[in-house]
Protein backbone atom coordinates (compact mmCIF):
# COMPACT_ATOMS: atom_id res chain seq x y z
CA UNK A 1 0.00 0.00 0.00
CA UNK A 2 1.71 3.19 -1.10
CA UNK A 3 2.44 5.84 1.49
CA UNK A 4 -0.13 8.49 0.52
CA UNK A 5 -3.10 6.15 0.65
CA UNK A 6 -1.72 4.70 3.86
CA UNK A 7 -1.48 8.19 5.30
CA UNK A 8 -5.03 9.12 4.33
CA UNK A 9 -6.25 5.78 5.71
CA UNK A 10 -4.47 6.38 8.98
CA UNK A 11 -5.83 9.91 9.29
CA UNK A 12 -9.40 8.74 8.69
CA UNK A 13 -8.93 5.97 11.24
CA UNK A 14 -7.49 8.36 13.83
CA UNK A 15 -10.27 10.89 13.34
CA UNK A 16 -12.88 8.14 13.70
CA UNK A 17 -11.32 6.74 16.87
CA UNK A 18 -10.89 10.12 18.53
CA UNK A 19 -14.35 11.43 17.66
CA UNK A 20 -16.06 8.22 18.77
CA UNK A 21 -14.15 8.20 22.05
CA UNK A 22 -14.89 11.85 22.69
CA UNK A 23 -18.57 11.51 21.79
CA UNK A 24 -18.94 8.41 23.92
CA UNK A 25 -17.69 10.27 26.98
CA UNK A 26 -19.43 13.55 26.21
CA UNK A 27 -22.92 12.11 25.68
CA UNK A 28 -25.32 12.61 28.55
CA UNK A 29 -27.51 9.61 27.85
CA UNK A 30 -25.91 6.42 29.13
CA UNK A 31 -27.35 4.20 26.41
CA UNK A 32 -26.08 6.40 23.59
CA UNK A 33 -22.73 6.38 25.30
CA UNK A 34 -22.63 2.59 25.21
CA UNK A 35 -23.63 2.43 21.55
CA UNK A 36 -20.85 4.86 20.69
CA UNK A 37 -18.49 2.70 22.72
CA UNK A 38 -19.52 -0.37 20.70
CA UNK A 39 -18.78 1.49 17.47
CA UNK A 40 -15.46 2.58 18.97
CA UNK A 41 -14.59 -1.07 19.61
CA UNK A 42 -15.35 -1.98 16.01
CA UNK A 43 -13.12 0.78 14.62
CA UNK A 44 -10.40 -0.13 17.09
CA UNK A 45 -10.40 -3.70 15.77
CA UNK A 46 -9.69 -2.29 12.30
CA UNK A 47 -6.92 -0.16 13.79
CA UNK A 48 -5.25 -3.17 15.41
CA UNK A 49 -5.41 -4.99 12.09
CA UNK A 50 -3.77 -2.06 10.33
CA UNK A 51 -1.02 -2.19 12.98
CA UNK A 52 -0.43 -5.84 11.98
CA UNK A 53 -1.60 -7.21 15.33
CA UNK A 54 -4.30 -9.73 14.37
CA UNK A 55 -4.29 -11.47 17.76
CA UNK A 56 -5.19 -8.22 19.51
CA UNK A 57 -7.67 -7.39 16.73
CA UNK A 58 -9.42 -10.73 17.34
CA UNK A 59 -9.62 -10.04 21.06
CA UNK A 60 -10.88 -6.49 20.47
CA UNK A 61 -13.52 -7.64 18.00
CA UNK A 62 -14.71 -10.35 20.37
CA UNK A 63 -14.55 -8.59 23.73
CA UNK A 64 -14.32 -4.87 23.08
CA UNK A 65 -17.42 -4.47 20.97
CA UNK A 66 -20.14 -7.08 21.35
CA UNK A 67 -19.46 -8.41 24.84
CA UNK A 68 -18.54 -5.13 26.53
CA UNK A 69 -21.50 -3.47 24.84
CA UNK A 70 -23.90 -6.15 26.06
CA UNK A 71 -22.48 -5.94 29.58
CA UNK A 72 -22.70 -2.15 29.72
CA UNK A 73 -26.22 -2.11 28.28
CA UNK A 74 -27.34 -4.61 30.91
CA UNK A 75 -25.78 -2.38 33.57
CA UNK A 76 -27.55 0.69 32.16
CA UNK A 77 -30.91 -1.10 32.29
CA UNK A 78 -30.33 -2.22 35.83
CA UNK A 79 -29.30 1.20 37.07
CA UNK A 80 -32.33 2.78 35.39
CA UNK A 81 -34.60 0.27 37.10
CA UNK A 82 -33.30 1.29 40.49
CA UNK A 83 -33.85 5.01 40.02
CA UNK A 84 -37.33 6.51 40.48
CA UNK A 85 -38.67 8.12 37.32
CA UNK A 86 -38.33 11.66 38.61
CA UNK A 87 -34.66 11.21 39.26
CA UNK A 88 -34.18 9.78 35.79
CA UNK A 89 -35.24 13.11 34.35
CA UNK A 90 -32.38 14.87 36.01
CA UNK A 91 -29.59 12.46 35.16
CA UNK A 92 -29.16 14.41 31.97
CA UNK A 93 -28.15 17.51 33.84
CA UNK A 94 -24.85 18.16 35.53
CA UNK A 95 -24.59 16.66 38.94
CA UNK A 96 -22.62 19.33 40.75
CA UNK A 97 -22.11 17.84 44.19
CA UNK A 98 -18.60 18.35 45.51
CA UNK A 99 -17.79 14.65 45.62
CA UNK A 100 -18.71 14.21 41.94
CA UNK A 101 -16.63 17.19 40.86
CA UNK A 102 -13.67 15.92 42.86
CA UNK A 103 -14.07 12.44 41.39
CA UNK A 104 -14.18 13.87 37.87
CA UNK A 105 -11.02 15.88 38.45
CA UNK A 106 -9.27 12.84 39.89
CA UNK A 107 -10.19 10.69 36.87
CA UNK A 108 -9.15 13.46 34.46
CA UNK A 109 -5.75 13.89 36.10
CA UNK A 110 -5.19 10.14 36.25
CA UNK A 111 -6.06 9.71 32.55
CA UNK A 112 -3.81 12.64 31.64
CA UNK A 113 -0.97 11.09 33.65
CA UNK A 114 -1.37 7.73 31.90
CA UNK A 115 -1.50 9.43 28.51
CA UNK A 116 1.60 11.44 29.40
CA UNK A 117 3.55 8.36 30.38
CA UNK A 118 2.53 6.57 27.17
CA UNK A 119 3.48 9.58 25.05
CA UNK A 120 6.88 9.83 26.77
CA UNK A 121 7.47 6.10 26.23
CA UNK A 122 6.54 6.39 22.55
CA UNK A 123 8.83 9.36 21.96
CA UNK A 124 11.64 7.66 23.82
CA UNK A 125 11.22 4.48 21.80
CA UNK A 126 11.08 6.19 18.43
CA UNK A 127 14.04 8.41 19.28
CA UNK A 128 16.47 5.70 20.30
CA UNK A 129 18.16 3.14 18.10
CA UNK A 130 16.00 0.14 17.20
CA UNK A 131 16.32 -2.74 19.63
CA UNK A 132 15.47 -6.00 18.01
CA UNK A 133 16.58 -8.14 20.91
CA UNK A 134 13.10 -9.30 21.93
CA UNK A 135 11.85 -10.42 18.51
CA UNK A 136 15.20 -12.08 17.82
CA UNK A 137 15.10 -13.94 21.11
CA UNK A 138 11.57 -15.14 20.43
CA UNK A 139 12.44 -16.22 16.90
CA UNK A 140 15.48 -18.11 18.14
CA UNK A 141 13.49 -20.10 20.69
CA UNK A 142 10.26 -20.55 18.74
CA UNK A 143 11.06 -24.06 17.57
CA UNK A 144 11.51 -25.29 21.12
CA UNK A 145 8.29 -23.69 22.32
CA UNK A 146 5.88 -26.24 20.82
CA UNK A 147 3.88 -23.75 18.75
CA UNK A 148 4.66 -21.65 15.71
CA UNK A 149 2.63 -18.54 16.57
CA UNK A 150 5.01 -16.23 18.49
CA UNK A 151 2.19 -14.61 20.48
CA UNK A 152 0.97 -17.97 21.77
CA UNK A 153 4.57 -19.01 22.46
CA UNK A 154 5.09 -15.95 24.63
CA UNK A 155 1.73 -16.22 26.42
CA UNK A 156 1.71 -19.94 27.07
CA UNK A 157 5.38 -20.85 27.26
CA UNK A 158 7.97 -18.10 27.73
CA UNK A 159 5.74 -16.01 30.01
CA UNK A 160 3.39 -18.74 31.13
CA UNK A 161 3.57 -17.65 34.74
CA UNK A 162 1.96 -14.29 33.88
CA UNK A 163 -0.90 -16.02 32.08
CA UNK A 164 -1.41 -18.30 35.07
CA UNK A 165 -1.76 -15.27 37.31
CA UNK A 166 -4.19 -13.65 34.84
CA UNK A 167 -6.38 -16.74 35.01
CA UNK A 168 -6.24 -16.54 38.80
CA UNK A 169 -7.43 -12.93 38.53
CA UNK A 170 -10.38 -14.11 36.43
CA UNK A 171 -11.16 -16.69 39.10
CA UNK A 172 -11.20 -13.93 41.70
CA UNK A 173 -13.55 -11.92 39.50
CA UNK A 174 -15.96 -14.86 39.43
CA UNK A 175 -15.87 -14.98 43.24
CA UNK A 176 -16.84 -11.33 43.22
CA UNK A 177 -19.69 -11.99 40.80
CA UNK A 178 -20.97 -14.85 42.94
CA UNK A 179 -20.88 -12.57 45.94
CA UNK A 180 -23.49 -10.38 44.27
CA UNK A 181 -26.09 -13.01 45.03
CA UNK A 182 -28.59 -14.72 42.76
CA UNK A 183 -28.85 -13.33 39.25
CA UNK A 184 -31.70 -11.00 38.35
CA UNK A 185 -34.53 -12.02 36.04
CA UNK A 186 -33.53 -12.87 32.52
CA UNK A 187 -34.84 -11.62 29.21
CA UNK A 188 -38.18 -12.14 27.54
CA UNK A 189 -38.31 -15.10 25.16
CA UNK A 190 -37.22 -14.04 21.71
CA UNK A 191 -39.58 -13.34 18.85
CA UNK A 192 -39.35 -15.41 15.66
CA UNK A 193 -36.65 -13.29 14.00
CA UNK A 194 -34.36 -13.26 17.00
CA UNK A 195 -34.97 -16.97 17.61
CA UNK A 196 -34.04 -17.67 14.00
CA UNK A 197 -30.86 -15.63 14.40
CA UNK A 198 -29.98 -17.57 17.54
CA UNK A 199 -30.46 -20.88 15.79
CA UNK A 200 -27.54 -20.35 13.45
CA UNK A 201 -25.48 -17.73 15.30
CA UNK A 202 -24.84 -19.81 18.43
CA UNK A 203 -23.53 -22.92 16.63
CA UNK A 204 -21.39 -20.76 14.36
CA UNK A 205 -19.91 -18.92 17.36
CA UNK A 206 -19.13 -22.21 19.09
CA UNK A 207 -17.51 -23.51 15.91
CA UNK A 208 -15.52 -20.29 15.52
CA UNK A 209 -14.34 -20.59 19.13
CA UNK A 210 -13.08 -24.10 18.55
CA UNK A 211 -11.38 -22.99 15.35
CA UNK A 212 -9.65 -20.06 17.10
CA UNK A 213 -8.46 -22.36 19.88
CA UNK A 214 -6.98 -24.79 17.37
CA UNK A 215 -5.58 -22.11 15.10
CA UNK A 216 -3.89 -20.37 18.02
CA UNK A 217 -0.95 -22.71 17.75
CA UNK A 218 0.06 -21.66 14.24
CA UNK A 219 -1.96 -18.54 13.41
CA UNK A 220 -3.52 -15.63 15.30
CA UNK A 221 -5.97 -16.96 17.83
CA UNK A 222 -5.71 -18.64 21.19
CA UNK A 223 -7.53 -19.26 24.45
CA UNK A 224 -8.62 -15.68 25.21
CA UNK A 225 -10.09 -14.99 21.80
CA UNK A 226 -11.76 -18.42 21.71
CA UNK A 227 -13.13 -17.97 25.22
CA UNK A 228 -14.60 -14.58 24.37
CA UNK A 229 -16.25 -15.96 21.22
CA UNK A 230 -17.70 -18.84 23.20
CA UNK A 231 -18.97 -16.38 25.80
CA UNK A 232 -20.72 -14.46 23.02
CA UNK A 233 -22.69 -17.64 22.27
CA UNK A 234 -23.82 -17.83 25.89
CA UNK A 235 -24.73 -14.13 25.90
CA UNK A 236 -26.87 -14.57 22.78
CA UNK A 237 -28.70 -17.47 24.41
CA UNK A 238 -29.38 -15.36 27.49
CA UNK A 239 -30.59 -12.41 25.41
CA UNK A 240 -32.99 -14.76 23.62
CA UNK A 241 -34.63 -15.56 26.94
CA UNK A 242 -33.46 -19.15 27.09
CA UNK A 243 -33.19 -20.93 30.41
CA UNK A 244 -30.21 -22.99 29.35
CA UNK A 245 -27.38 -20.67 28.40
CA UNK A 246 -24.67 -23.23 28.16
CA UNK A 247 -23.47 -23.04 31.75
CA UNK A 248 -23.43 -26.40 33.55
CA UNK A 249 -25.14 -26.91 36.89
CA UNK A 250 -23.74 -25.54 40.17
CA UNK A 251 -21.00 -27.97 41.12
CA UNK A 252 -19.78 -28.63 37.60
CA UNK A 253 -19.72 -24.89 36.92
CA UNK A 254 -17.43 -24.29 39.87
CA UNK A 255 -15.09 -27.06 38.75
CA UNK A 256 -15.08 -25.68 35.21
CA UNK A 257 -14.13 -22.18 36.34
CA UNK A 258 -11.52 -23.39 38.78
CA UNK A 259 -10.05 -25.63 36.08
CA UNK A 260 -8.85 -22.62 34.11
CA UNK A 261 -6.13 -21.80 36.58
CA UNK A 262 -6.26 -25.31 38.06
CA UNK A 263 -5.09 -27.23 35.02
CA UNK A 264 -2.36 -24.69 34.46
CA UNK A 265 -1.22 -25.03 38.07
CA UNK A 266 -1.41 -28.83 37.97
CA UNK A 267 0.72 -29.02 34.84
CA UNK A 268 3.30 -26.76 36.45
CA UNK A 269 3.38 -28.73 39.68
CA UNK A 270 3.60 -32.11 37.95
CA UNK A 271 6.54 -30.84 35.91
CA UNK A 272 8.08 -29.44 39.07
CA UNK A 273 7.76 -32.74 40.87
CA UNK A 274 9.41 -34.61 37.99
CA UNK A 275 12.48 -32.45 38.43
CA UNK A 276 11.89 -29.83 35.70
CA UNK A 277 11.45 -26.12 36.46
CA UNK A 278 7.89 -25.01 37.27
CA UNK A 279 6.03 -24.77 33.93
CA UNK A 280 9.13 -25.81 32.06
CA UNK A 281 7.62 -27.97 29.33
CA UNK A 282 9.72 -30.72 27.78
CA UNK A 283 10.10 -29.84 24.11
CA UNK A 284 8.42 -32.96 22.79
CA UNK A 285 5.33 -32.43 24.94
CA UNK A 286 5.13 -28.64 24.78
CA UNK A 287 2.55 -28.43 22.00
CA UNK A 288 0.19 -30.93 23.63
CA UNK A 289 0.50 -29.35 27.06
CA UNK A 290 -0.17 -25.90 25.64
CA UNK A 291 -3.30 -27.16 23.88
CA UNK A 292 -4.51 -28.81 27.08
CA UNK A 293 -3.97 -25.68 29.13
CA UNK A 294 -5.58 -23.48 26.48
CA UNK A 295 -8.67 -25.71 26.28
CA UNK A 296 -9.25 -25.50 30.02
CA UNK A 297 -8.55 -21.76 29.94
CA UNK A 298 -11.00 -21.20 27.07
CA UNK A 299 -13.84 -22.86 28.98
CA UNK A 300 -13.04 -20.95 32.16
CA UNK A 301 -12.80 -17.62 30.37
CA UNK A 302 -16.08 -18.23 28.54
CA UNK A 303 -17.86 -19.16 31.77
CA UNK A 304 -16.44 -16.09 33.53
CA UNK A 305 -17.59 -13.69 30.82
CA UNK A 306 -21.08 -15.22 30.65
CA UNK A 307 -21.36 -14.98 34.44
CA UNK A 308 -20.28 -11.35 34.24
CA UNK A 309 -23.16 -10.74 31.83
CA UNK A 310 -25.63 -12.70 33.93
CA UNK A 311 -24.52 -10.59 36.87
CA UNK A 312 -24.82 -13.06 39.73
CA UNK A 313 -25.13 -16.68 40.64
CA UNK A 314 -27.11 -18.38 37.85
CA UNK A 315 -30.45 -19.78 38.91
CA UNK A 316 -31.35 -23.40 38.55
CA UNK A 317 -33.72 -24.19 35.69
CA UNK A 318 -37.36 -24.34 36.82
CA UNK A 319 -37.18 -21.90 39.70
CA UNK A 320 -39.46 -18.86 39.23
CA UNK A 321 -38.04 -15.48 38.23
CA UNK A 322 -36.50 -13.65 41.13
CA UNK A 323 -37.42 -10.01 41.76
CA UNK A 324 -35.46 -7.71 44.02
CA UNK A 325 -36.82 -7.75 47.54
CA UNK A 326 -38.47 -11.16 47.36
CA UNK A 327 -37.13 -13.97 49.48
CA UNK A 328 -34.61 -16.09 47.63
CA UNK A 329 -35.93 -19.46 46.55
CA UNK A 330 -34.36 -22.20 48.72
CA UNK A 331 -31.51 -23.71 46.82
CA UNK A 332 -32.57 -26.25 44.27
CA UNK A 333 -29.27 -27.53 42.99
CA UNK A 334 -29.26 -27.18 39.24
CA UNK A 335 -31.22 -29.62 37.18
CA UNK A 336 -30.00 -27.92 33.99
Amino acid sequence: MNSTSLLVFDVLLLVSILSLAWASLATRDARNSVILFMAFGLVLAVAWSRLMAPDVALAEAAIGSGLSGALLLAAVYRSRGQQPAAQQQSTGEHNTSAATVAARWAVTLLSAAVAGVLAWALLHASGSAPHDTLPLAIAANLDASGVSNPVTAVLLNFRAYDTLLELAVLLTAVLGIFALGPAAAGYRPAGPVFAGLTRWLVPLLILAAGYLLWAGAHAPGGAFQAGATLAAAGVVLRLAGRQHIGLPAGGTLRVLIAAGAGVFLTVGLVLFMTGRPFLGYPTAWAGTLILLIESAAMLAIAATLVLAFVGGRPQAAGTPAHTAGAKPVPGNPGKE
Partner: protein, 86 residues
Protein backbone atom coordinates in the same frame (compact mmCIF):
# COMPACT_ATOMS: atom_id res chain seq x y z
CA UNK B 1 -4.41 -4.56 -8.63
CA UNK B 2 -2.74 -3.36 -5.45
CA UNK B 3 -3.54 0.24 -6.32
CA UNK B 4 -7.17 -0.71 -6.77
CA UNK B 5 -7.17 -2.49 -3.42
CA UNK B 6 -5.57 0.52 -1.72
CA UNK B 7 -8.12 2.89 -3.20
CA UNK B 8 -10.92 0.51 -2.23
CA UNK B 9 -9.71 0.48 1.37
CA UNK B 10 -9.78 4.28 1.32
CA UNK B 11 -13.28 4.31 -0.15
CA UNK B 12 -14.53 1.98 2.58
CA UNK B 13 -12.92 4.08 5.28
CA UNK B 14 -14.71 7.05 3.76
CA UNK B 15 -18.02 5.14 4.02
CA UNK B 16 -17.17 4.40 7.63
CA UNK B 17 -16.69 8.14 8.23
CA UNK B 18 -20.11 8.80 6.72
CA UNK B 19 -21.48 6.36 9.26
CA UNK B 20 -19.67 8.41 11.89
CA UNK B 21 -21.66 11.49 10.92
CA UNK B 22 -24.91 9.59 11.41
CA UNK B 23 -23.81 8.13 14.71
CA UNK B 24 -22.92 11.53 16.08
CA UNK B 25 -26.03 13.26 14.72
CA UNK B 26 -28.71 10.59 14.58
CA UNK B 27 -31.55 11.48 16.88
CA UNK B 28 -32.21 8.57 19.15
CA UNK B 29 -30.61 5.24 19.85
CA UNK B 30 -32.10 3.49 16.80
CA UNK B 31 -30.25 5.70 14.34
CA UNK B 32 -27.05 5.26 16.27
CA UNK B 33 -27.43 1.49 16.34
CA UNK B 34 -28.04 1.56 12.60
CA UNK B 35 -24.86 3.54 12.06
CA UNK B 36 -23.02 0.97 14.17
CA UNK B 37 -24.22 -1.69 11.75
CA UNK B 38 -22.77 0.34 8.88
CA UNK B 39 -19.48 0.69 10.73
CA UNK B 40 -19.52 -3.06 11.29
CA UNK B 41 -20.17 -3.92 7.64
CA UNK B 42 -17.68 -1.36 6.35
CA UNK B 43 -15.19 -2.66 8.90
CA UNK B 44 -15.66 -6.21 7.63
CA UNK B 45 -15.13 -5.01 4.06
CA UNK B 46 -12.02 -3.07 5.10
CA UNK B 47 -10.58 -6.08 6.90
CA UNK B 48 -11.19 -8.36 3.92
CA UNK B 49 -9.47 -5.91 1.61
CA UNK B 50 -6.59 -5.40 4.03
CA UNK B 51 -6.25 -9.15 4.38
CA UNK B 52 -5.80 -9.44 0.65
CA UNK B 53 -3.61 -6.36 0.35
CA UNK B 54 -1.23 -7.10 3.23
CA UNK B 55 -1.40 -10.83 2.55
CA UNK B 56 -2.51 -11.62 6.09
CA UNK B 57 -5.17 -14.32 5.90
CA UNK B 58 -5.61 -13.96 9.66
CA UNK B 59 -7.51 -10.74 8.96
CA UNK B 60 -10.26 -12.81 7.35
CA UNK B 61 -10.75 -14.48 10.72
CA UNK B 62 -10.93 -11.07 12.38
CA UNK B 63 -13.56 -10.07 9.81
CA UNK B 64 -15.65 -13.15 10.62
CA UNK B 65 -15.52 -12.52 14.36
CA UNK B 66 -16.33 -8.85 13.80
CA UNK B 67 -19.38 -9.75 11.73
CA UNK B 68 -20.69 -12.22 14.29
CA UNK B 69 -20.11 -9.96 17.24
CA UNK B 70 -21.76 -6.99 15.52
CA UNK B 71 -24.87 -9.19 15.38
CA UNK B 72 -24.49 -9.87 19.09
CA UNK B 73 -24.26 -6.12 19.70
CA UNK B 74 -27.52 -5.50 17.84
CA UNK B 75 -29.16 -8.34 19.77
CA UNK B 76 -27.98 -6.85 23.08
CA UNK B 77 -29.42 -3.51 22.12
CA UNK B 78 -32.87 -4.90 21.47
CA UNK B 79 -33.23 -7.49 24.21
CA UNK B 80 -36.13 -6.86 26.55
CA UNK B 81 -35.72 -7.78 30.18
CA UNK B 82 -38.43 -9.81 31.83
CA UNK B 83 -40.77 -7.43 33.60
CA UNK B 84 -38.55 -4.57 32.46
CA UNK B 85 -39.14 -1.53 30.31
CA UNK B 86 -36.99 -2.61 27.38
Amino acid sequence: MTELLSLSVLALMFCLSLGLVRILLGPGAGNRMLATQLIGTAGVGTLLLLGSLLEQPALYDVALILALLAAVAAAAFTGVREGGDG
